[in-house]
């Protein structure tokens, strides 16, 4: 590096260091983003909280309430400090806890969704020893019942609850609908007359899509599982109830009551956002959203909104899903456990709980809070939500529930998008849940060995291979091989051994969270008989082919433009180059987030705004199966063009000047020059580029996770995302490994082709390196 570059780099790093260190330096208070309590306190408890329920909450009111509550706790407990993590997104939080449980790394205290309890039943500690009965009696009965085991131990402290309701605009919907038919009539009329969304709901692939609509199933008397935790939602009469719910959801689109964009709604904020943007007459939301509407809308706009019970098949039935988060204690050591229970009881003491619930907009679960704090008994919103809780129904605390939810999410997506009939979708979900249930019950009873000599084979092979390579003869050049040892060792252990271990794992039914497994071909069988796998192959092929062709074409066009402009001494080539490459240096996740923001489907999305202006929008850019795939490809091309551009630009610069001059003399047109001069000259670079961007696109999923999460249904789920989900949501290491082996084979084939091209092209790339 030149000295100028060096000093610029040093300055940058120095400036950049000041950012975090300025904040980290404030690390002396009682409450910091990573610690609560005195830094020198002897007892440290680790806490995995949820992001909306701690002092790090993004909403200032919640953060403020917790700062007060935690500060009081810290002052009265100088001997204890908390190490705080707030866990991201619902599913990830759960997965992280499961992995931690498997490895014995659980935090001392965690906040979990109530329906996860069965997953951690072996690790949660009973609380009643440090939690007096008279205080427990203050909690709403369902909270204690749901969290007690058969032996009568209380395993968690419910911190808040919520319920779902129909939010509607009084000016557009004078009488709130009580039945589905009324809802469809009203919503489609408003949509038609006002050119806005009549009725919105969560329809993307996430938990709330199922949970919000379970109320419509429960109100018909439907049950998901029986008393032993066996799934029964696919058996009559539950099947009929579920089919009616799916049929209703199909009708919301067919009757024009809801836009297809509901398939892209992955958080409640999108519902609030549409409401604030004036694009929703009704939506199925959660009680806490009343706060969001209140802060987001002017008082006169907010006054137009009201709530009603969720419309049902039959006007005389009512139900609403009550969720809620629960504090659990994992600390086994008595002293830590005592401190942990004391901490959660302190946070949930009546005065604190009241303060927090006021800030969050969730519903308290203590009777004394409703009694002693006027806001909860007098405020008309709280009072009416409190009334709805009477018909509240919690999700079953059964081990199979998460799988039921996963499958119903897919079913709802397929029905709403029109891909499948309710019957087809339900039958598929039912079959998948039963298969998983069979696996769960058999893996609990099967007898497997936990000592596995075969596990050592890949490691041995990985170590022997490089040794054999070097051993075959004496070193020609004394000691030279030793210089490669550290690099070889590192690559062997961290990259090469995993490739071999992948093969072994793919032949097991191992789970990531479990120690026991057996060798079987089941993973491959499951893969090859899984109809959705072929769908994913198709999605991947379209994604890769689309990305690669566009990246290459656009990258080439830009490289040509910049090269031609440079040869004509036009200004601005550097700016254009920096702009293109700036898209490429952005982390993939960030690119996904960025495009998600650009493509927001209600009127506040900038792309849809301009599409609307030119008369072809707004379009369901995330929620329509085809457009979502197009969006994902466009985002990937936006990011990836730079790579092609750089390689091809370097190639163009190496085209000898004399050839250009000869072309000038011949009077070549631009097209002739491209066809007869540039493309033949660049052929090797183009070929290499093609292979490399194919590999890169094939392995991409960091961009897709935040953008579509693989939805709607599975229409943007590429193979790599499928593999990640199998491994780190479903925790099925064996099945994930089988998918990974397929990916590995594709990668190795492409890498081999690229290797051939590079070796042939080596003198050229060497020259580029030196320039």
């Amino acid at each position: 590096m030149s000295r100028r570059d060096c000093s610029a780099a040093v300055l940058l790093v120095a400036w950049f260091l000041t950012l975090p260190s300025a904040a980290l330096a404030q690390d002396d208070g009682l409450i910091t983003p990573v610690r609560v309590g005195r830094a020198d306190a002897p007892l440290t408890l680790t806490v995995w909280a949820q992001p909306d329920y701690f002092h790090l909450a993004a909403r200032p009111a919640i953060a403020g309430a917790f700062t007060i509550v935690l500060d009081e706790w810290a002052r009265s407990h100088p001997g204890v400090q908390l190490r705080v993590s707030v866990m991201p997104g619902l599913e990830l939080h759960k997965t992280k806890l499961q992995l931690a449980a498997a490895a014995g790394r659980l935090p001392d205290v965690a906040s979990i969704d109530s329906y996860w309890l069965p997953l951690f039943v072996d690790d949660v500690q009973p609380l009643e020893a440090d939690w007096p009965a008279e205080d427990r009696a203050d909690f709403l009965p369902f909270t204690i019942q749901t969290l007690s085991d058969r032996a009568g131990h209380v395993l968690g402290l419910w911190h808040e609850t919520d319920c779902r309701a129909l939010f509607y605009r009084k000016d557009l919907v004078p009488v709130p609908p009580r039945t589905w038919d009324e809802l469809l009539d009203t919503a489609s009329r408003v949509a038609r007359e006002r050119k806005m969304s009549g009725y919105l709901y969560n329809g993307a692939r996430w938990e709330a899509t199922v949970f919000d609509h379970l109320a419509m199933f429960w109100a018909q008397g439907g049950e998901l599982v029986d008393g032993d935790g066996r799934p029964i939602f696919g058996e009559e009469p539950n099947r009929r109830a579920m089919l009616r719910v799916l049929g209703f959801l199909r009708d919301t689109i067919q009757r024009g009551a809801s836009p297809r964009s509901v398939l892209g709604i992955t958080d409640y904020q999108q519902l609030t956002g549409a409401a604030i943007a004036g694009d929703a007459a009704m939506f199925l939301g959660g009680n806490w959203q009343q706060k969001d509407l209140q802060t987001g809308l002017s008082p006169e706009e907010f006054a137009k909104w009201d709530i009603a019970p969720i419309p049902q098949a039959d006007a005389n039935t009512r139900s609403t899903g009550t969720g809620g988060w629960v504090w659990v204690v994992f600390a086994k050591d008595p002293e830590r456990r005592k401190a942990a229970v004391e901490f959660i009881r302190d946070v949930e003491a009546p005065a604190h709980a009241a303060r927090i619930s006021q800030a969050t907009g969730h519903l308290p679960v203590r009777r004394s809070v409703y009694r002693d704090f006027p806001i909860f008994s007098q405020d008309s919103w709280y009072r009416r939500f409190g009334d709805m809780l009477v018909d509240g129904h919690a999700r079953p605390a059964a081990l199979i529930y998460p799988e039921i939810s996963q499958q119903l999410q897919l079913a709802i997506g397929a029905v709403v998008s029109g891909d499948k009939s309710p019957e087809q979708a339900l039958d598929q979900a039912w079959a998948a849940v039963n298969a998983e249930y069979a696996r769960q019950t058999s893996s609990r009873s099967a007898n497997r060995s936990s000592v596995d000599p075969i596990a050592w084979i890949p490691l041995a092979a990985a170590v022997v291979f490089p040794l054999a390579v070097f051993w075959r003869g004496r070193s020609d050049s004394a000691g030279a091989a030793w210089w490669t040892l550290p690099a070889t060792a590192l690559v062997t252990i961290i990259l090469f051994y995993p490739m071999l271990d992948l093969l072994r794992l793919s032949l097991t039914d191992a789970t990531i969270a479990g120690r026991r497994y057996a060798y079987t071909l089941a993973s491959y069988q499951a893969l090859l008989t899984d109809a959705s796998f072929y769908g994913m192959v198709l999605v991947t092929v379209i994604f890769v082919a689309g990305s690669v062709m566009l990246q290459l074409a656009i990258g080439f066009a830009i490289a040509w433009l910049i090269d031609a402009a440079r040869r004509r001494r036009a200004p601005g080539t550097i700016v254009a180059r920096v702009a293109v490459v700036s898209a490429w240096v952005i982390p993939g996740v960030l690119a996904g987030v960025l495009w998600k923001i650009l493509l927001i489907e209600n009127r506040s999305g900038i792309v849809n705004y301009y599409l609307g202006r030119i008369g072809i929008g707004p379009l369901p850019l995330i929620s329509s199966p085809i457009l979502a795939l197009v969006s994902v490809i466009v985002a990937n091309v936006w990011r990836g063009c730079a790579f092609s551009m750089i390689l091809l630009y370097a190639g163009l610069q190496r085209v000898p000047r004399e050839l250009h001059e000869a072309a000038d003399l011949e009077g070549f047109s631009a097209w002739q020059r491209l066809r007869w001069l540039l493309i033949p000259q660049l052929a090797p670079v183009i070929a290499l580029n093609l292979v490399l961007i194919t590999i890169a696109s094939f392995n991409t999923f960091d961009l897709i996770i935040p953008l579509t999460g693989g939805g709607p249904a599975r229409r943007t789920e590429v193979i790599s995302l499928f593999m990640y989900r199998l491994g780190f949501f479903d925790l099925q290491a064996g099945r994930a490994a089988a998918v990974a082996v397929v990916m590995l084979i594709v990668n190795l084939l492409l890498a081999w082709v690229a290797g051939r091209l590079i070796v042939r092209d080596e003198p050229v790339s060497r020259e580029a390196a030196a320039s």
């Binding site: 950012l19 750089i646 590079i758 390196a769």
Partner: protein, 276 residues
């Protein structure tokens, strides 16, 4: 060749269009990061916020864990690139300059491994790091990152070593310098630009990496920036205005470093023919 002014204008307009096309998303991000939560949903949307404020930046830098994410990303990226360079440079040197048994298979294996994405290996890598007791530690992540970039770094540096004229090595040998001494005192200074290119390139790779960090880290206090940004999308509600501010903070250093050091990026890319 000096073109006619009208032709030049055509090219300038073309370049401006390209630059705008690729920069507009980032500019929209900047615009959002200066808006309030209510401003996010304004209709019609505005590029220049009516009431621009730095409140979102103040919030993410003082009341969130973003400073920790930045710090972690920095620590991980620095240590990982130092480790990568430390093991890759000697290997690249002998692979370029000496002939020994195993050289060709080693080079070929590195080339192939370089192109296999570590994403494919998530499950077994998690297994190894867990057995080493390094889950949820920066050390575990650094170890994997260091290994991940070794094949690429070896190849790029080998190309740079290849480009050093043989006469320099001859001269050193005639002076009786050992391999280590030639390497340290003569060759390293010559290939400094190559080292710069790979370091810049590797830093960018570590800064962006998401999948491995997602799987290997638990505690938020150890999250790297991409993971931290991802965790801004919370369970129920995403606060886009804050996410935009945090994203922009993550973006600035990469783009700044890139603008200053862009020719090293380009050199690194073209030299190694890397994964994208």
């Amino acid at each position: 060749m000096i073109a006619a002014p009208r032709q030049r204008l055509f090219f300038v307009l073309g370049l401006v269009a390209v630059a705008a096309g690729f920069l507009l998303p980032q500019i929209w991000l900047l615009s959002l990061s200066l808006k309030s939560k209510a401003g996010m949903f304004e209709y019609p949307p505005t590029w220049i916020p009516r009431a621009a404020s730095a409140a979102n930046y103040r919030f993410v830098l003082t009341q969130s864990q973003v400073p920790w994410y930045l710090w972690n990303s920095l620590v991980v990226a620095m240590f990982a690139s130092a480790a990568t360079l430390a093991v890759a440079t000697p290997a690249a040197y002998v692979l370029s300059r000496e002939r020994f048994r195993g050289r060709t298979p080693l080079l070929a294996s590195l080339l192939v491994i370089q192109m296999v994405s570590p994403v494919i290996l998530l499950v077994p890598i998690y297994g190894i790091i867990e057995r080493l007791g390094l889950i949820d530690t920066r050390a575990g992540l650094i170890l994997v990152y260091a290994a991940m970039q070794v094949p690429f770094t070896v190849w790029v540096l080998k190309n740079f070593f290849d480009a050093v004229p043989a006469s320099i090595f001859e001269a050193a040998r005639l002076d009786g310098a050992t391999r280590a001494r030639t390497f340290r005192e003569i060759i390293l200074p010559i290939i400094a630009p190559g080292l710069g290119a790979t370091v810049v390139f590797n830093l960018a790779a570590y800064w962006s990496e998401f999948c491995l960090a997602l799987v290997l880290l638990d505690s938020q206090a150890r999250y790297t920036m991409p993971l931290g940004l991802f965790s801004f999308q919370s369970g129920y509600d995403t606060d886009w205005h804050l996410l935009a501010a945090a994203s922009f903070i993550a973006l600035v250093p990469v783009i700044a470093v890139f603008v200053v050091l862009q020719r090293y990026f380009v050199a690194g890319l073209t030299a190694g023919a890397v994964k994208g």
